[in-house]
């Protein structure tokens, strides 16, 4: 077999994303540890993240409802495989816990890290609470991870 040549090209790219009005309001709330969801006036589903329309009913979402920082673990895993974080170009080492948490007051779940990475200590239905970072800047990583409510 003759020599195989390949061409390396690194993508270093940034984009300026617009949050939209509802996500801006949500982010401003996060800065003050305040979580709000939008509620569909038809099916009553309360959505996190906030968004312009209810995809099921095709109706604009304008009503805001408060959401707790405590919720129920609906799904969980412990990831062992290191993950290349495209935002930093760095590896995120395992093992780390991840979960889908349904915060009280929301009907959708939030995908986030757990402070627990022992499968034996995780179960669907556990009550979990947000652990905030010390410095809040109005973004999802203001949430450090979730911990079990003791």
């Amino acid at each position: 077999m003759s020599e195989r040549v390949s061409v390396p090209i690194e993508m270093v790219q940034s984009w300026r994303y617009s949050s939209g009005d509802s996500m801006e309001r949500f982010s401003n709330g996060i800065r003050h540890k305040r979580i709000e969801a939008v509620k569909c006036g038809n099916c009553q589903r309360r959505y996190l993240p906030p968004r312009p329309v209810c995809g099921n009913c095709h109706l604009s979402l304008t009503e805001w409802v408060p959401v707790s920082d405590v919720g129920t673990l609906e799904a969980w895993t412990v990831v062992y495989l290191p993950f290349l974080d495209g935002r930093t170009g760095e590896l995120r080492d395992g093992p780390y816990g991840m979960g889908l948490i349904r915060l009280d007051g929301s009907d959708t779940t939030l995908n986030h890290f757990l402070n627990q990475n022992d499968p034996a200590k995780l179960a669907v239905g556990m009550r979990m609470r947000i652990v905030w970072r010390d410095e809040l800047h109005g973004a999802m990583d203001d949430i450090l991870h979730f911990e079990e409510v003791s």
Binding site: Q13, Y17, S18, G20, D21, R51, G55
Partner: protein, 349 residues
């Protein structure tokens, strides 16, 4: 083949920067199109979207818009190309008798990142991308081939750019005189800043519906084509791909290509030399109104571009006195017009 009615259109922009999120902006266009067609989401059978992941900075970029285009629990297909190609596919779905009502939606936001940097990632990564070549450079190389044998080309292009800019109502295009354009800075010679369609943000939505032509303009023909990627493999003096796409569309519309006459042409011209390539490839002559709203020179959103021309043609055909007239709509993408799409729209009765 059954008749495809264009039941309604909607568009946002083009604007230099739409501060809304992508879903909010797209929703704006969808709501307008549904209102124009006087139908609700429930009457849409299928959605075809057009977006480019790298332009949006999102993987599977239709995820972001699935909800606002009303595709939850419905069929949706995303074409990564110009919205006019998505329109071609939407028409195929109706002619296939797969669906009766199809919503076609295209979006892009050039305010998110330098488009000239992103289009490098569409070029052959072995031979071209490492050189830093992008769509603008390809346009410069093509324009130069045309200008080599034509001493008046640059002046003519400046005049054409000036006229098109003057006709624009979007507020995006700066009105410039011919001499200001000729004095503007070189972008990719012989092209100058004043000759480049100003890039912006926007979304377009069109409702296609099986039915009769009694209710307004009809999509009577479509065609598309892909040329060789290498600029050196093509004869850059001609858009051969556009000629093939045009011939296909004429065949679909039962028009002999050589004798096809159009009252309106809406070419997608990112640069003025592309209008000349368009005329040459389609044989359109002086009897045709061309880009009365200034075309892309008055404001241009890649991916949306060809569909914005369809919306323009639709609106023109709906104007008093233009019923029953015929329009030719054009979109292209890729370096120097590598990929081409056309649509023929007949005004209703």
């Amino acid at each position: 083949m059954r008749t495809i009615r264009i039941a309604g259109v909607g568009e946002t922009g083009p604007v230099q920067q739409d501060r809304r999120s992508i879903p909010e902006m797209v929703l704006g266009a969808v709501d307008l199109a549904l209102a124009d067609a006087q139908i609700g989401h429930g009457e849409i059978d299928s959605v075809v979207t057009a977006s480019v992941d790298l332009f949006d900075g999102l993987t599977a970029s239709n995820i972001a818009v699935t909800e606002v285009v009303g595709a939850v629990m419905k069929p949706e297909a995303r074409i990564a190309g110009d919205g006019l190609a998505a329109t071609v596919h939407g028409a195929c779905q109706i002619w296939a008798h797969a669906y009766d009502t199809v919503l076609v939606v295209a979006h892009a936001k050039t305010s998110m990142a330098a488009n000239g940097k992103l289009t490098q990632w569409a070029m052959d990564p072995i031979h071209l991308q490492p050189l830093g070549v992008n769509f603008s450079a390809a346009a410069g190389l093509q324009a130069n081939v045309l200008a080599q044998h034509d001493r008046h080309a640059e002046k003519r292009w400046a005049r054409l750019s000036c006229e098109r800019r003057a006709a624009g109502t979007s507020g995006m295009a700066k009105k410039l005189s011919q001499s200001e354009i000729l004095a503007s800075e070189i972008t990719t010679s012989p092209l100058r800043n004043g000759m480049c369609a100003p890039l912006g943000d926007g979304a377009c939505a069109v409702v296609l519906q099986a039915g009769s032509n009694a209710g307004g303009p009809v999509l009577s023909g479509v065609g598309h084509d892909l040329e060789a990627h290498g600029l050196g493999d093509r004869n850059l003096v001609h858009w051969a791909g556009l000629t093939r796409a045009f011939d296909r569309a004429c065949r679909v519309a039962n028009l002999p290509p050589a004798d096809a006459r159009f009252d309106l042409a809406e070419p997608s011209c990112f640069y003025p030399h592309e209008e000349e390539l368009f005329l040459r490839a389609t044989g359109i002559d002086g009897g045709t109104v061309i880009s009365p709203d200034g075309g892309l020179m008055a404001g241009c959103v890649p991916v949306v571009a060809g569909m914005s021309r369809l919306v323009a043609a639709f609106k023109w055909l709906r104007q008093t006195g233009n019923a029953g007239k015929r329009a030719l709509v054009h979109g292209h993408w890729g370096p120097a017009g590598q990929a081409q799409a056309v649509a023929i729209v007949d005004g209703g009765l």
